[in-house]
Amino acid sequence: MRTPRINLKELEKIKEENFKERLEFIDKYVEWMKKTSNKTWSSQQKDLID
C-alpha cells in the first residue's frame, strides 16, 4: 500500500501552532473565569469532569 509523504518538520510546526492556540484559549478562558461568578464557571467545570 502506498502511504503519503510525511514531512516531520511540517507536522512539528502544526503541533507547535496547535499548542499556541491552546495557550491562547487558556488566556481567554481565564479572562472569562475572572469576570464570571464562581457558581457559573465551576458548574461548567463540574459538567465537564462529571
Binding site: V30, S42, D50
Partner: protein
C-alpha cells in the same frame, strides 16, 4: 470569580465536581489524623478551574514511623484500598520508605486515586512546610504554594504541564510573589520556558 487570598490561606466557593469531592473526602481523613501533607501537581490547577480532569491526585505526606503509618493505613482502609498492596508492612517498607508511591482508590474503583508519597527531596520538604490552606465551601485541605507549582509545572515540561502553569499564572498573576517565582525559575532552569510561554 470571587476568591479571598490572605497570607497562608485561599478561600473560595465552587460547585464541587467528582474530583473535588474525592479530594475533600480523602484529605478529611488526614486532617482528622493531624498528619502534615500537601497536594501537589495537576489537581492544583483543576481545583482552580482548569478545564481538564486527572486520574490521580499527588499528595506528599510528612515522613512518619511505622506505628503512626499503621494508624493512617487503618483509618484510610475504612473507605479506600491500596492498589499496590494489601499488606501494611510491605506498603511502608517496600513502597513508601523505598521512595515509591502508594495509590489509594475508593473500594471497588481504580480511578481516580491518591498517589501517596513521602518527601524525597528538599523541594518536597519545603513544599510541605510552606503549604497553603485552601478553604472551599467550608472544607479545607493543603496545597503547594502556587509560585512553586507554576515553576515546577514548567520544569515537568509536557504541553499539559505548561498549560497548567499558564492557567495558574494568568489566574493569580496579580497576587503571586514574583521574586519567589524568579528564584524557582532560576533553580529549576525554567526561565526560558517562563519567558516563552507565560509572559
Amino acid at each position: 470569580m470571587k476568591i479571598n487570598i490572605s497570607g497562608k490561606e485561599i478561600e473560595f466557593k465552587k460547585e464541587q465536581n467528582k474530583l473535588d469531592r474525592f479530594v475533600i473526602e480523602f484529605t478529611s481523613l488526614l486532617n482528622r489524623l493531624q498528619i502534615r501533607y500537601v497536594i501537589v501537581s495537576g489537581y492544583v490547577a483543576i481545583l482552580f478551574g482548569r478545564s481538564r480532569t486527572s486520574e490521580d491526585v499527588d499528595i506528599i505526606v510528612e515522613k512518619q514511623d511505622f506505628k503512626t503509618f499503621i494508624t493512617v493505613w487503618n483509618t484510610i482502609s475504612d473507605g479506600y484500598y491500596c492498589i499496590n498492596t494489601n499488606d501494611v508492612k510491605e506498603a511502608y517498607e517496600d513502597y513508601l520508605s523505598s521512595g515509591i508511591s502508594l495509590r489509594f482508590a475508593k473500594k471497588n474503583t481504580f480511578i481516580p486515586n491518591i498517589e501517596f508519597k513521602f518527601p524525597k527531596t528538599d523541594l518536597d520538604n519545603w513544599t510541605a512546610q510552606k503549604r497553603k490552606k485552601v478553604i472551599i465551601n467550608n472544607h479545607y485541605f493543603y496545597i503547594s504554594p502556587l509560585e512553586l507549582q507554576i515553576s515546577f509545572k514548567l520544569h515537568l515540561g509536557s504541553e499539559k504541564d505548561i498549560e497548567d502553569a499558564r492557567h495558574l499564572y494568568k489566574l493569580f498573576e496579580e497576587t503571586l510573589d514574583m521574586t519567589l517565582i524568579k528564584e524557582f525559575n532560576r533553580k529549576l532552569k525554567t526561565q526560558a520556558l517562563f519567558q516563552r510561554y507565560l509572559q
